[in-house]
């Protein structure tokens, strides 16, 4: 007779007290990928019952270190000691057997399965899965409730918003008896309210004896939730500090090796003049929701940055895509500088002075297998530049590329390398160079710093402000509230395809904004419903 093995498995684990398990100590961890040293003799200690932030820029080696702890990657040198006993994990299964679990940035959930099915997948037999569904579901629901994770075991993953999917990932680990949770950039796809809620959950888990590592590059998160922080830079330890002995500034310096530069002063936007860019009653159908954008109107003045905030999947993508001429506008108007541009093709947008920094530079921004020079000319060549009676003048293309590479500080400054061989930050600089060099009247920037390290992010911010100073209108879409508040003159919040809140940054109320992002006028129950409706898929 089968018993639901996993339940007894979970109970078995519970009688081992955190103290008995002891700390996890990683000592002298070194890992090289070819000539790149991802981890250079890194030390890391995770104490029982703490939330430990692993902070660093992109490429600092955070994820590599955690992949080693999780058994995904084998270290070249160094040792891992758990409770005084050296261990070596050949696979995540080994790590999980020691109670270590990891939630990756990209969730690994089967979209068409229910929460319960995802949680037990691989942990129980197919027999139980097929014939003891009710029992399995109840077990999962109980586990969720025990840990205070708000999920409904019978719901399908694809119906869930991102934050709920994340809770399922965490539940998956807890169900398998994990007591040590590693979360890789857990807030990338979450809105502020969802982040608060996640941190609440993490603190509760900590208080019940779990140890948690959050891998992040956001200082605010470290300040909000971490008991201790370890900062990595270029694969080496910089500092490990206890709560109380670190502040945001010190962490920023540790992480980047220098003080962050203040942004240049900004002149006033030309608010007294007529708006340069006007969108009126825009309606766009999405792939899933019938009305992805439901009657959105806004103005952007010359020399103004309008920030568009919102939890992922509330119509931001459709808004950008419809203005960019990629998807159809059902109704409404889009006017730039007196010229109607509703639903026109990308080439006409270029001619009218619109530049776009697309959300995913690797899909929409760049032809990765082409050279840097070819990518820099990608929009100009179809526009007829660089060619005479259809024959291209490659010499001019490459000369122009050299100029732009220097101007935008792309490294390496070689026009002939394939763009795929550049780092993410330099790839984004190539996109910026191409889009900004044509002096746009309107710049649409969708998540322009997504996945970039602090240095590259700062660079992008400066460039965006320069565009603003030059008297262009900028529409900035981002999930990163800090970025929006730092750059925008005015912010509006999209919720389910409608404008829920709009205010100049100087008069903005964070509370109202957060509520607008969650779609609430008050009441938590409302928020819950709103989340479900606003479900977006992080992978697409």
């Amino acid at each position: 007779m089968y018993t639901l093995t996993i339940v007894s498995f979970g109970e078995q684990r519970e009688d081992a007290t955190p103290e008995a398990r002891g700390s996890i100590v990683m000592r002298g961890i070194t890992k090289a990928y070819g000539a790149t040293i991802a981890n250079d003799s890194v030390d890391f200690e995770l104490r029982p019952g703490e939330i430990h932030a692993l902070l660093g820029e992109n490429g600092a080696g955070k994820t590599t270190l955690m992949n080693i702890l999780f058994g995904l990657v084998a270290q070249d040198e160094g040792e891992i000691v758990i409770g005084g006993e050296p261990v070596r994990f050949a696979s995540p299964h080994d790590a999980l057997a020691r109670g270590i679990g990891m939630v990756h940035q990209q969730f690994m959930l089967v979209q068409n399965f229910t929460v319960a099915e995802n949680v037990v997948l691989g942990a129980i037999s197919k027999w139980n899965m097929a014939f003891r569904r009710a029992e399995v579901e109840r077990g999962v629901q109980e586990t969720a409730e025990r840990y205070g994770l708000a999920v409904v075991a019978g719901q399908r993953i694809r119906e869930l918003p991102v934050d709920a999917q994340q809770r399922v990932e965490i539940l998956k680990l807890l169900y398998r008896g994990a007591t040590i949770l590693i979360l890789d950039e857990p807030t990338s796809f979450l809105g502020p309210a969802q982040v608060d809620r996640l941190f609440g959950t993490l603190k509760e888990l900590r208080d019940t004896g779990h140890s948690i590592v959050i891998v992040t590059h956001k200082l605010r998160e470290v300040m909000a939730v971490a008991d201790r922080v370890t900062v990595l830079k270029k694969g080496r330890n910089v500092v490990t500090a206890e709560r109380g002995s670190f502040d945001e500034r010190m962490l920023a310096v540790a992480m980047t090796g220098r003080d962050l530069l203040a942004l240049p002063p900004r002149t006033k936007a030309h608010l007294d003049e007529a708006a340069l860019f006007r969108v009126r009653d825009l309606v766009v159908h999405g792939a899933r929701a019938l009305h992805a954008v439901h009657g959105v109107s806004f103005d952007i003045h010359a020399g103004e940055i309008l920030g568009i905030a919102g939890v992922e999947g509330n119509g931001q993508r459709e808004l950008v895509d419809s203005i960019a001429g990629i998807i159809k506008v059902e109704s409404g108007t889009v006017v730039l500088d007196g010229q109607e541009l509703t639903g026109v093709s990308p080439q006409r947008l270029h001619a009218a002075g619109v530049s776009i920094i697309p959300e995913d530079r690797r899909v929409w921004g760049l032809v990765l297998d082409m050279t840097v020079a070819e990518n820099l000319a990608l929009a100009q060549i179809p526009g007829g530049d660089f060619s005479q009676r259809g024959i291209l003048r490659w010499r001019d293309v490459r000369m122009r590329a050299r100029e732009l590479l220097e101007l935008y500080d792309v490294r390496p400054a070689d026009p002939d390398v394939p763009v795929i061989s550049l780092s993410g930050g330099n790839q984004q600089k190539v996109v910026l160079a191409r889009e900004l060099a044509r002096d746009p009247k309107l710049l649409i920037a969708a998540h322009p710093t997504h996945g970039l390290d602090v240095g590259a992010t700062e660079y992008v911010h400066r460039r965006l402000l320069e565009v603003r100073e030059s008297g262009s209108a900028v529409m900035l879409v981002s999930h990163d509230l800090d970025e929006l508040l730092k750059l925008s003159d005015r912010v509006l919040v999209l919720f389910r395809g409608r404008v829920r809140y709009e205010a100049p940054v100087s008069e903005l109320s964070m509370d109202e904004m957060a509520m607008a992002m969650a779609g609430t006028g008050g009441g938590a129950a409302d928020a819950e419903l709103a989340h479900v409706g606003a479900g977006g898929d992080p992978a697409t």
Partner: protein, 371 residues
């Protein structure tokens, strides 16, 4: 859990190895990798030769004898060499017919049909236009118009793709059968010669002159050479070629950057069709002197293999076509020397194609693992 999913967001994820991705990746091999890729081609060709030798041995022939027979059958005397040259001519053109749409990630498997339609045009034009036209004008006119005919035949899948997103593989394949039936109709009903299954002979004014006495080599060969150069210039030096490559490598970024993806699809298909049409015309006015049934020898389809072996690069099409022509012509000598059935030649060609593709997959897997 898949380790690949644990990569940081910033690092490009390897794209899945589909047939599409596979070919697209071959389109623009970065120049610094070119040497290594030539090395790979040599290794895979050698290993392929080994497998073919094993097959020959299994069939009871001495592989060394067979290889010698193959090569001398194709190149051993002037006449055979001339035949190899003319087949290279046809294969180079049908190779281009595949390579150019493939570069735009459009799978033109209808080169055979475009070639048939070009041949139909060549035969028909020769028999219907006034025979009094001067030779210097008439022969080139027939070639050009037949190439245009091929382009029209290629336009069908291209335009349907652009307008209603019809699957170009299916449409182009179906257009092959339509073209074959049309040619059969011409042979049996419109311009029948009588007993022989072929059309009436094309007027002498349309025939391409012989340029190498003692062989069958006609002016069609330099025409194909010229076409290869034109294709190379188009792909490497023109706006259209750039756009074809860009759309093939990333249609999304191409579209957002102002390329008219549908229009480019139509142009790529028409260009490919034009080259296949020229192949058909050269077969009629440069080789047979009329349009016989089954004149194509499946060269339209074999062009796909030619293009793949050449990795869609127009200049590599020539050696690639020459290679397949040697196999084709040489397999006639195979029978004499080894007593094997002539269809063994077909088997060898097929084996080469399959193995070369298999090596391509292995190579890409290897490259991905090295990343």
């Amino acid at each position: 859990m898949d380790p690949a999913d644990a990569r940081p967001l910033d690092e490009p994820k390897p794209r899945p190895l589909t047939a599409v991705g596979l070919l697209a990746r071959g389109i623009a091999a970065p120049s610094r990798d070119r040497l290594r890729s030539v090395g790979w081609t040599v290794i895979s060709a050698a290993a392929t030769a080994g497998v073919v030798a094993a097959i020959l041995a299994l069939l009871g022939a001495n592989p060394a004898t067979a290889f010698r027979a193959l090569v001398s059958g194709a190149l051993g005397n002037e006449f055979n060499f001339g035949q190899t040259v003319m087949i290279t001519t046809l294969l180079a053109l049908t190779g281009l017919a595949a390579a150019i749409p493939f570069s735009a990630r459009l799978w033109n498997v209808g080169g055979e049909g475009q070639m048939y339609f070009g041949a139909f045009c060549a035969a028909g034009l020769g028999l219907t236009l006034p025979a009094s036209l001067p030779h210097w004008f008439f022969a080139p006119l027939v070639l050009v118009l037949s190439a245009l005919g091929g382009a029209v035949w290629g336009l069908i899948p291209g335009a349907l793709k652009a307008l209603i997103n019809a699957n170009e593989v299916i449409v182009s394949l179906m257009s092959v059968f339509a073209a074959i039936l049309l040619a059969d109709y011409a042979i049996t009903v419109i311009w029948p010669q009588g007993i022989a299954p072929q059309t009436q002979d094309a007027p002498a004014n349309t025939l391409l002159p012989n340029i190498w006495s003692g062989t069958l080599v006609t002016a069609g060969a330099p025409v194909a050479l010229f076409c290869v150069l034109v294709a190379w210039v188009i792909m490497a030096r023109t706006r259209l070629g750039f756009e074809i490559r860009a759309v093939g490598l990333n249609p999304f970024a191409s579209r957002l950057n102002g390329m008219r993806v549908g229009r480019i699809a139509v142009y790529a298909f028409m260009l490919g069709g034009a080259f296949a049409g020229a192949a058909g015309a050269i077969a009629v006015v440069g080789i047979y002197g009329n349009l016989p049934t089954d004149f194509s020898g499946n060269f339209g389809f074999l062009g796909i293999a030619v293009a793949l072996l050449a990795r869609l690069s127009p200049l590599w099409i020539l050696p690639s076509a020459f290679f397949f022509a040697i196999l084709r012509v040489g397999s006639n000598g195979l029978q004499v020397a080894t007593g094997l059935s002539p269809s063994v030649g077909e088997i060898i060609v097929a084996t080469f194609v399959i193995l070369l593709l298999a090596f391509r997959v292995i190579r890409l897997r290897y490259a991905e693992a090295a990343q």
